[in-house]
C-alpha cells in the first residue's frame, strides 16, 4: 500500500486494508445481492461484525457492539434509504460508515466532509472555470461532487458531520434523496441515480442544535444511534484491537501484553464518563471533554510510542499518565479540579494503582 510516488501510505482506506477479506467474502457469497452491491447484505454484516467463512478465512470484527444496530444499518441501505449514524464523539460513527461503504461499493472515498464552510458545490457540482470560459457550459466543464459521482455510478456517498453543514446547504440533499436525481439547469440535463446509490451521513450528538436537520431532510434518513460500549470488557476489547491495528500501521515496535494498562485506561475513562466508580460506591464529577473509546485508543497508542521509543519497551503507568491527564484536562480550571479529586479520592486508595497514582501526580503536579 503505497502512494503514487512509492511511499508507504499513512492511512490506507478500509477497502485497501481489508482487500483480502472483502475479496474472500465476495467469493464465498452466494446470496442475492442488491443491484450494484459488491456482496449480499448478510455478507456486509459479517464483514462488520466478524466471523469465519466456510473456507476457513477469518473475518476480523470491525465494529464491536450490538448486532441489531449493524443489521438495521445494512437493511436501511438495502431499501435504498439514506442512513444517519448518530452518536457521541468517538463512538465509531465514521468508522462504521467507512466500512459500510467499503463493503457495499468497494469504495469509501466518495466523501463530503461537513464543516461550517461546506458549500453547495460539495454536494451538487462545481465548474472548471477555465474550461467554462473557454468552451462555454458543457458536461466536460462540470466538476462533479462525490455525491454526484456516487449517483452516476450507483455507489455509496458519505457525508461526515452532517449537522455542521449550514442548513441551506444541507437541504441540497433533499432532492437527491427523495427524487434520486440532480438537475443541472445550466445544461438543461439531469443526473439520475443508478441503482445502488445511497448516502451514509454521520452526526454528532453533542452538536445537536448547531444546524439541526430540517424535518424534510430528517425524514429521508433512517436513524441509528451508536451507543458507548456497554461493558468494560467490550471497551477493553475495542481499544486493544484498534491499538494493535494502529501499531502495525504506524510500524511501532511490538509492545508485549499491554492489556493491564489498557484496562486501567478504560476504567479511568468509564468512571469519569459515568460520574461513578466501577463499584458504584463513589460519585465523581465528569470532565468537560469527551471521554470516548476514541480518546482511550489515542492515549494508549501514544503511551506505546513513548514506551517503545523512550521507555523499556513495556507499557508502564507513566507512559499513559501524561496522555490521560491531557485528555481529561481540557478546561484548565474546572477539569484540573475534577482530575485532582479523582486522583486523590479514587486512584490513591485503589490497591495496585500506586504506580499509576505517582505517575499521574508527577505529570499533573
Amino acid at each position: 500500500l503505497t502512494t503514487t510516488t512509492g511511499k508507504p501510505l499513512l492511512r490506507p482506506h478500509a477497502e485497501q486494508v481489508y482487500a483480502g477479506e472483502l475479496a474472500a467474502l465476495s467469493a464465498a457469497d452466494d446470496r442475492t445481492r442488491p443491484p450494484s452491491w459488491r456482496m449480499s447484505p448478510q455478507a456486509v454484516v459479517t464483514y462488520l461484525l466478524g466471523g469465519t467463512l466456510p473456507d476457513g478465512t477469518g473475518i476480523t470484527p470491525k465494529y464491536i457492539g450490538p448486532r441489531r444496530l449493524i443489521e438495521v444499518a445494512v437493511a436501511t441501505l438495502a431499501t435504498d434509504r439514506a442512513l444517519l449514524l448518530l452518536g457521541l464523539p468517538g463512538t465509531a460513527k465514521t468508522w462504521v460508515s467507512e466500512h459500510l461503504a467499503a463493503a457495499i461499493s468497494g469504495d469509501s472515498g466518495l466523501l463530503v466532509q461537513g464543516t461550517s464552510g461546506t458549500a453547495e458545490e460539495a454536494i451538487r457540482y462545481g465548474w472548471n472555470y477555465a474550461r467554462l470560459l473557454a468552451e462555454g457550459p458543457s458536461q466536460a466543464a462540470m466538476v462533479p461532487s462525490p455525491v454526484l459521482t456516487a449517483m452516476a455510478e450507483g455507489r455509496i456517498a458519505r457525508v461526515e458531520e452532517l449537522t455542521r453543514i449550514p442548513s441551506d446547504v444541507q437541504d441540497a440533499l433533499i432532492t437527491v434523496l427523495s427524487e434520486k436525481t440532480l438537475p443541472v439547469p445550466e445544461l438543461g440535463i439531469e443526473v439520475q441515480a443508478a441503482k445502488g446509490f445511497s448516502v451514509i451521513a454521520t452526526a454528532n450528538d453533542r452538536d445537536r442544535g448547531v444546524n439541526e436537520l430540517s424535518s424534510a431532510l430528517r425524514r429521508r434518513f433512517n436513524t441509528v444511534v451508536l451507543p458507548l460500549p456497554a461493558s468494560e470488557d467490550e471497551e477493553v476489547d475495542i481499544v486493544a484491537r484498534r491499538v494493535a491495528e494502529l501499531g502495525q500501521a504506524l510500524e511501532l515496535p511490538e509492545v508485549p501484553s499491554a492489556v493491564e494498562e489498557i484496562r486501567r485506561v478504560v476504567t479511568v475513562f468509564r468512571e469519569l464518563r459515568s460520574g461513578m466508580t466501577a463499584d458504584r460506591r463513589t460519585m465523581l464529577k465528569s470532565p468537560t471533554g469527551t471521554m470516548s473509546p476514541a480518546e482511550a485508543i489515542s492515549v494508549v497508542t501514544n503511551g506505546i510510542a513513548l514506551a517503545a521509543h523512550f521507555g523499556d519497551g513495556v507499557l508502564r503507568p507513566a507512559d499513559v499518565a501524561a496522555g490521560i491527564a491531557g485528555t481529561v484536562i481540557k478546561d484548565p480550571v474546572t477539569d484540573r479540579g475534577v482530575w485532582g479529586e479523582y486522583l486523590e479520592a479514587v486512584v490513591r486508595e485503589r490497591p495496585g494503582w500506586a504506580d499509576f497514582y505517582r505517575a499521574c501526580r508527577e505529570v499533573s503536579g
Binding site: P41, V74, T79, L86
Partner: protein, 748 residues
C-alpha cells in the same frame, strides 16, 4: 383406543398456538375437550360461556380459611386454553380441566403467596421458545407462524410438534421430570382415561382433544401406560380445601411473571398477532404511528411505508420469512422515532404491552373480599360510581362513622376508592371528614391484590395493618399505623400494633423519630374521643414513649449541626402541642409535666444549640413554667456581648421564629422583647440589629405591621382597634361567648 385421543401441544399464551388449536378443533370435531388447568375448577368453567367474562381474566384458587394461600391461572384472548374453552362452549361440547386440582397445589404451598405451577427447567417452561431459539428466532410466535402455520398448508402441526417435543424431553437433564411434573402428568392421564370412558359410554364417537403445554404432549400421546402406575403416583397426595373464582386481569400483569412460568413481555403484540392475521406488520406500524401522533410526534404515511420496508428488509437479512416484534421495533426506532428512546418508550408502553383490563360478570362467583366489599358498600349506602363525587361525613352520627370506617379500611388495603382530603382529616375539628369517591375499573385488581389478606374487609384490613406495623422501618411508621387502626376501627389490630410500636420504640435510638411519633398517637387518642373508642391503652403508650423521649433527649441535643437542630426544633414543637392537648386528665398532665421538666433541663444547658435552647425557653414561658421575668433575663443574657454572633442569631431565631402572630397577641412575650430592646446601649443595639432583622424577615409583611401596631400600644401610644378596655358590650357578647364556650367543651 389411542386414535380417539388428539393431543394439541401448545405454547401458553401463544397466539399462533391459539389459531392452530381453533383450526384443529374445527377439523377434529371432538366429543370432549380436555384443557390444562386445575381440575377442580369445573364448577366455574360454565362461566366462560358468559359474554360478560372478557379476557384478560384469571382463575384464582385460594384456601378459604387462609386466603393468602392462593394461585392464579391467567388467560388472555390469545391464550390457546381460553380459545379452546370458547370453542367448546360455542359448539356445545363438554370441556374439562385436566391438571392437578388446585386443592393439591395449595396443600403443597407453605402458606406463602405464590404464582401457579411453573416448571423448573427453562426448556420445560417454554419448550416452544427453546425450539424457536434453536432455529435462530428470538420471537417464538414468529417461529410458529413461519414453520408451523405457513408451511403446513392446513395440515395439523401437532403430531410433528409432539415428536419434536419428545426429542426435547429426551435431551432434558431429568428425563423423568420432577416428582411434581410426574404427578401432574399422571393426573392428566387419569382424567384422559375417564374422558375416554365417559364419551364411550355416552356413545359419542368423536375423539377427545387434549389442549396442554407442548412439554406434556408426549406424555399423553400414543398408547397410555397402565392406570395402576398413575394411581400409585397420585395416592395419598395432601389436599387442602380450595375455592375457585374468576377475577379480572390486566395485560401488564400478564407481562409480569404469571401462572405458566415465564411471563410474556409483549401481550399487546400477541393480541395484535391473534386478532390481525392480515397485513400484520403494516397494521401494527400504522397503530404505532397513531400512538406517536397522539404524543404530538409528527409521523406521516411515508414514514410508515419506509418503516414497513425496513422491517421487511431486516427480516430478509436475518433469513426470516416474516418480520417479528424485533424487526418492527427496530424499524420503529430507526424510521419513526429518529432513534429517540423516549419516543420508543411510548410505543412499548401503549402498544407492546398495551394495557387492557378484563371483566368478570356479576353473576360469577366472586372473590369473597370483593363480595364483602360490595355488601359493605351497600350497607353504608355508597355506590361504586365511576364518576367522582365529594362526600362529607359527620362522625358523630352512626351512618357517617360507618362510612368513614369502611373508607379507611379500604385505604389500609390499598383500594383507593376514596381519597381523604388531607387537611381536613388532620384538622382539629375531628368530627368532620371530607372524601372524594371515584370507583375506577382498575380497582378490581387492587381488590384481588388485597384478597390474600382475608375474606372480609375488616379481617383483611386487620391482617394487613398488623403486617405493616411489624414491617415498618421506624417508630413514625408504626404510629401512623396506630392512627389507621383507630380511624378504620380495627380493635383486634390495636394490641398487636401497639406491641410493635413498643418494640420499635425500645430499639429506636433516634429521639427525633420517637418525638415525631407522638403527635400522631395523640391525634389518634382524640379521634378515639370523637368515635367513642377506648384509648386507655393508647394513652399508656404515649406516656411510655414520652418517658423514652425524656430519657434520650439530653444526649440527643448535644453537638448538633444547624440542619439537625432545625429538624429537632420542629419535633419539640410537635411534642409540646400534642402533649398540651393531652393534658386534660390526670395522667395526661403527668406526662406533660415530665416533658416540661426535661425541657427545663434543656433550656438551662449552655452546650445546647441556640435554636433548641431558645425554643425550650419560649415553650416553657408559654406553658407558664418559667416566670416572665426569668425568661426576659435569659433572653437578654443569651443575646448579650459575651455570646458569639452565630449563637445569638440561633437563640433569637429559636425563641422567636414562627411566632409572628403570637407576638401580636401575646403581650407578655412582646413586652419581654420590647423591654430588652429598649435597655440596649447604642453599641449593643447596632450589634444585634442584623440578628433581629434576620428573624423578623421570616415573618409575613402583615404580621410585621401588626407587631408594630402592638408595640405602639404597649408603649402607651395611640390605641389600636383591638384595645381591650373599650368597645366590648358585655351584654351583647354574652350570647356569642356561650356558643364559643359550648364548642370548646362548655366547662370554662
Amino acid at each position: 383406543v389411542t386414535d380417539r385421543v388428539a393431543v394439541l401441544g401448545i405454547r401458553h399464551h401463544g397466539p399462533g398456538s391459539a389459531r392452530s388449536v381453533l383450526a384443529e378443533l374445527d377439523r377434529l370435531q371432538p366429543a370432549m375437550v380436555l384443557i390444562e388447568g386445575p381440575a377442580d375448577a369445573a364448577p366455574v368453567l360454565p362461566v366462560a360461556a358468559d359474554p360478560g367474562l372478557v379476557p384478560p381474566v384469571a382463575l384464582l384458587a385460594y384456601a378459604p380459611d387462609a386466603p393468602r394461600v392462593s394461585a392464579f391461572w391467567p388467560y388472555a384472548v390469545f391464550s390457546p386454553e381460553w380459545q379452546a374453552l370458547q370453542w367448546a362452549a360455542g359448539h356445545q361440547v363438554s370441556a374439562r380441566f385436566c391438571d392437578l386440582p388446585a386443592s393439591v397445589l395449595l396443600a403443597s404451598r407453605g402458606g406463602e403467596v405464590d404464582e401457579a405451577a411453573g416448571e423448573e427447567d427453562e426448556a420445560a417452561r417454554d419448550p416452544v421458545a427453546a425450539l424457536a431459539a434453536a432455529a435462530g428466532y428470538d420471537d417464538p410466535e414468529r417461529w410458529w407462524d413461519d414453520l408451523i402455520e405457513s408451511r403446513l398448508d392446513g395440515q395439523s402441526p401437532f403430531a410433528a410438534l409432539t415428536e419434536a417435543m419428545a426429542q426435547v424431553r429426551a435431551a432434558a437433564a431429568r428425563p423423568g421430570g420432577q416428582p411434581h411434573e410426574q404427578r401432574r402428568e399422571a393426573y392428566m392421564r387419569q382424567v384422559l382415561r375417564a374422558a375416554l370412558r365417559d364419551t364411550a359410554r355416552a356413545g359419542q364417537g368423536g375423539p377427545v382433544a387434549v389442549v396442554c403445554g407442548a412439554w406434556h404432549a408426549p406424555a399423553l400421546a400414543g398408547k397410555l401406560p397402565p392406570a395402576t402406575a398413575d394411581a400409585a403416583v397420585l395416592r395419598g397426595l395432601p389436599k387442602r380445601k380450595a375455592a375457585l373464582a374468576w377475577v379480572p386481569w390486566t395485560h401488564s400483569r400478564l407481562a409480569a411473571a404469571s401462572g405458566y412460568g415465564a411471563g410474556i413481555t409483549s401481550p399487546g403484540w400477541y393480541q395484535h398477532l391473534f386478532t390481525t392475521p392480515e397485513h400484520t406488520v403494516i397494521r401494527w406500524l400504522t397503530r404505532v404511528a397513531a400512538v406517536l401522533r397522539a404524543h404530538d410526534l409528527p409521523v406521516s404515511s411515508a414514514h410508515i411505508i419506509e418503516a414497513v420496508r425496513l422491517a421487511e428488509a431486516l427480516a430478509t437479512l436475518r433469513g426470516r420469512p416474516l418480520a417479528g416484534l424485533a424487526e418492527v421495533s427496530e424499524a420503529t426506532e430507526a424510521v419513526l422515532c429518529d432513534g429517540d428512546e423516549h419516543a420508543t418508550g411510548f410505543v412499548t408502553r401503549d402498544l407492546v404491552v398495551g394495557e387492557i383490563l378484563g371483566a368478570v360478570p356479576d353473576t360469577a362467583p366472586a372473590v369473597p373480599l370483593d363480595a364483602d366489599l360490595r355488601a359493605q358498600a351497600r350497607a353504608a349506602k355508597l355506590k361504586l360510581d365511576p364518576l367522582e363525587q365529594a362526600l362529607t361525613l359527620d362522625l358523630r352520627t352512626p351512618g357517617g362513622r360507618a362510612r368513614s370506617v369502611l373508607l379507611h379500611r379500604l385505604a389500609v388495603l390499598g383500594i383507593g376508592w376514596g381519597t381523604a382530603a388531607e387537611d381536613q382529616v388532620r384538622a382539629t375539628g375531628t368530627f368532620r371528614e371530607t372524601w372524594a369517591l371515584r370507583w375506577r375499573p382498575e380497582l378490581v385488581v387492587a381488590v384481588i391484590d388485597a384478597a390474600p389478606w382475608g375474606t372480609t374487609v375488616a379481617a383483611a384490613a386487620t391482617a394487613k395493618i398488623i403486617d405493616a406495623a411489624q414491617a415498618a422501618g421506624d417508630v413514625a411508621g408504626v404510629s401512623a399505623a396506630v392512627e389507621s387502626v383507630l380511624l378504620a376501627d380495627l380493635p383486634d389490630a390495636l394490641a398487636p400494633v401497639l406491641r410493635a410500636l413498643d418494640a420499635k420504640a425500645a430499639r429506636d435510638a433516634d429521639v427525633a423519630r420517637l418525638m415525631t411519633a407522638v403527635p400522631a398517637l395523640v391525634r389518634a387518642i382524640r379521634y378515639g374521643d370523637v368515635r367513642g373508642t377506648d384509648t386507655t391503652a393508647l394513652a399508656a403508650v404515649v406516656a411510655a414513649l414520652t418517658a423514652r423521649v425524656c430519657a434520650g433527649l439530653p444526649a440527643a441535643v448535644s453537638g448538633l449541626a444547624d440542619d439537625a437542630a432545625a429538624g429537632l426544633r420542629g419535633a419539640l414543637d410537635g411534642m409540646q402541642a400534642a402533649l398540651s392537648l393531652l393534658a386534660q386528665d390526670e395522667r395526661g398532665r403527668d406526662t406533660r409535666d415530665r416533658w416540661l421538666g426535661s425541657l427545663g433541663v434543656l433550656a438551662g444547658r449552655p452546650d445546647v444549640h441556640g435554636l433548641l435552647a431558645g425554643r425550650a425557653v419560649r415553650l416553657l414561658t408559654e406553658a407558664g413554667v418559667l416566670p416572665r421575668a426569668e425568661s426576659a433575663r435569659r433572653f437578654a443574657a443569651h443575646l448579650s456581648i459575651g455570646v458569639p454572633a452565630a449563637s445569638k442569631a440561633a437563640w433569637a431565631d429559636g425563641f422567636l421564629s414562627g411566632s409572628g402572630l403570637l407576638l401580636v397577641h401575646d403581650r407578655d412575650l412582646l413586652s419581654i422583647l420590647d423591654d430588652w430592646l429598649a435597655s440596649l446601649g447604642d453599641q449593643d443595639f447596632t450589634g444585634v440589629l442584623p440578628l433581629l432583622r434576620r428573624t423578623f424577615g421570616g415573618f409575613a409583611a402583615a404580621e410585621r405591621a401588626n407587631i408594630g401596631q402592638a408595640v405602639r400600644q404597649l408603649a402607651g401610644g395611640a390605641p389600636g382597634w383591638d384595645s381591650p378596655a373599650e368597645l366590648v358590650d358585655e351584654g351583647r357578647a354574652a350570647g356569642a361567648l356561650r356558643t364559643v364556650a359550648a364548642i370548646l367543651g362548655g366547662a370554662r
